[in-house]
């Protein structure tokens, strides 16, 4: 058994690698020259080279199994079967893909419409409702219909027309309201004292609800009618909060 033990290596691992590469013709010119020189000078390198060469030749004893004659046919048969499975899988995936694409398109269309509608819809109209009697006017949003996305142009056109109508109504109401308050102010200024004048002027710079409330307060104080009795067509009616339409007789 001792004869079977390998001898102690006399070459360094680097020399061993270079020698193997030399035998495989994988060394560059400089490396090959070094190995050639070592082979000529050192008998242990020559012996190692010969041993490696013989060992390599021994691999020729290895059996080389051949493919059976039916191998090509079997492979092509298996390929056909696999192609069928792949085709079925492909069809299945194609169906999923189509459904997925359809879902994506619908979602994209709905999102696009929603964004477009959201950015282009009419601004919320702030209406200042003229008091019918002794009601303090309040700021109130136009209770327009909640935006709904539809896909038909008819519905869109109808909604646009409604929105335009609501804007025009709001503008008319605002004009009428401004007119009423101007009349109220003209009547009140004839009666208020200096202190009330200062306060009203200050509030008028700020505008809005406090000014109107103060004006109405003074009108009540000095018995100035809130509604012009001479105005034909009556007073601005109550705002129907549900429809946003003015239900006054004059409308």
């Amino acid at each position: 058994m001792s004869a079977m033990q390998p001898n102690k290596p006399k070459l360094t691992p680097q020399e061993q690698e270079n020698l193997t590469a030399y035998l495989d013709h994988e060394l560059d010119d400089a490396g090959a020259e070094q190995v050639t020189a070592a082979l000529s000078r050192r008998p242990e390198v020559r012996k190692e080279a010969e041993t490696l060469r013989k060992t390599w030749e021994m691999l020729d004893y290895l059996p080389r199994p051949l493919a059976p004659k039916s191998f090509t046919e079997h492979t092509l048969t298996r390929l056909s079967a696999t192609k069928g499975i792949l085709l079925q899988q492909g069809m299945k995936w194609r169906r999923y893909a189509i459904a997925g694409w359809a879902a994506c398109l619908v979602t994209a269309a709905a999102s696009g419409f929603w964004f477009t509608y959201s950015f282009n819809r009419e601004p919320d109209v702030v209406e200042v409702q003229a008091p019918e009697t002794d009601v303090i006017p309040v700021l109130e949003k136009s209770p327009g219909e909640a935006p709904k996305t539809t896909t038909t142009e008819t519905k869109l056109a109808k909604k646009d027309a409604n929105a335009q109508q609501r804007i025009q109504d709001a503008q008319r109401r605002n004009e009428r309201l401004a007119k009423q308050f101007n009349r109220l102010f003209a009547e009140v200024r004839k009666k208020y004292n200096e202190e009330e004048e200062d306060r009203l002027i200050k509030l008028s710079r700020k505008g809005g609800l406090p000014y109107m409330a103060a004006l109405i307060e003074l009108a009540k104080k000095y018995d100035v009618p809130l509604v012009d009795p001479n105005e034909s067509g009556g007073t601005p009616g109550k705002n129907n909060k549900k429809t946003g339409k003015n239900t006054s007789p004059g409308e």
Partner: protein, 224 residues
């Protein structure tokens, strides 16, 4: 016909197998059949040394060809066809070996299964072979088993590098591509493999058996 880049054109001109594979890429069934016929023996030869069984090698070889077919659309020649082909083979073989390790199955040692005797180390069986088997063919067969057993003692990478270098005459660079390591690492890998084989087969190498016999590979007839 898909357009080819300059590199692909260069390989297509130099390597007829690249041209064959390009025909496969263009859905030429006859070309694929030709490819299978051309590479089947070489592939099974390599795979049988990697997995140690002809039957398993045949199954794996079919798997390799199927993968080649599936990958045809993405084939863009960047190297010799055989390099690309054996890279796929290496991947398939390594996957199979991993599966095998996870589900180990008992296999008879080749020496036991053939001779029915106790498994012996290569050098021991060699002594037995040389001293008691006068028949040349019998001796060749015994030597074949000894070398096969010696090869099986290398690790998977060493074994693949050895068989690609020996039987496919691949350069270090090509082996590096197949295994996925550097050419320098292949140099080291092959050196260690050959040193290990030398140690295992030293007894035989140091006898004069090689001198009085012209070594010829034993071609194993496939099962019908």
């Amino acid at each position: 016909m898909q357009l080819l880049g300059k590199t692909s054109q260069a390989f297509a001109v130099q390597d007829p197998d690249v041209r064959l594979m390009l025909r496969v890429r263009n859905e030429d069934q006859a070309a694929f059949q030709e490819l299978v016929a051309k590479y089947q023996h070489r592939l099974i030869g390599i795979l049988s040394h990697l997995c140690g069984s002809s039957d398993e090698a045949e199954d794996l070889a079919q798997e390799v060809f199927l993968r080649v077919y599936r990958a045809r659309a993405d084939y863009h020649p960047q190297a010799k066809f055989s390099t690309w082909f054996f890279t796929i083979a290496n991947n398939v073989a390594l996957n199979a070996l991993r599966r095998k390790r996870r589900k180990p199955s008992y296999q008879l040692d080749p020496l036991v299964s053939q001779s029915g005797t106790q498994s012996a180390r290569p050098e021991e069986s060699l002594v037995h072979a040389t001293s008691t088997e006068p028949d040349r063919r019998m001796r060749h067969q015994e030597l074949a088993r000894v070398v096969e057993l010696a090869l099986s003692q290398l690790n998977e990478r060493q074994r693949l590098a050895v068989v690609l270098n020996k039987f496919e005459e691949m350069s270090y660079e090509e082996i590096a591509t197949v295994i996925g390591i550097s050419a320098k690492a292949v140099k080291s890998l092959l050196s260690r493999a050959r040193t290990q084989l030398r140690d295992i087969l030293r007894t035989y190498v140091e006898t004069e058996l090689m001198d009085d016999s012209q070594v010829a590979p034993i071609i194993m007839e496939p099962n019908p």
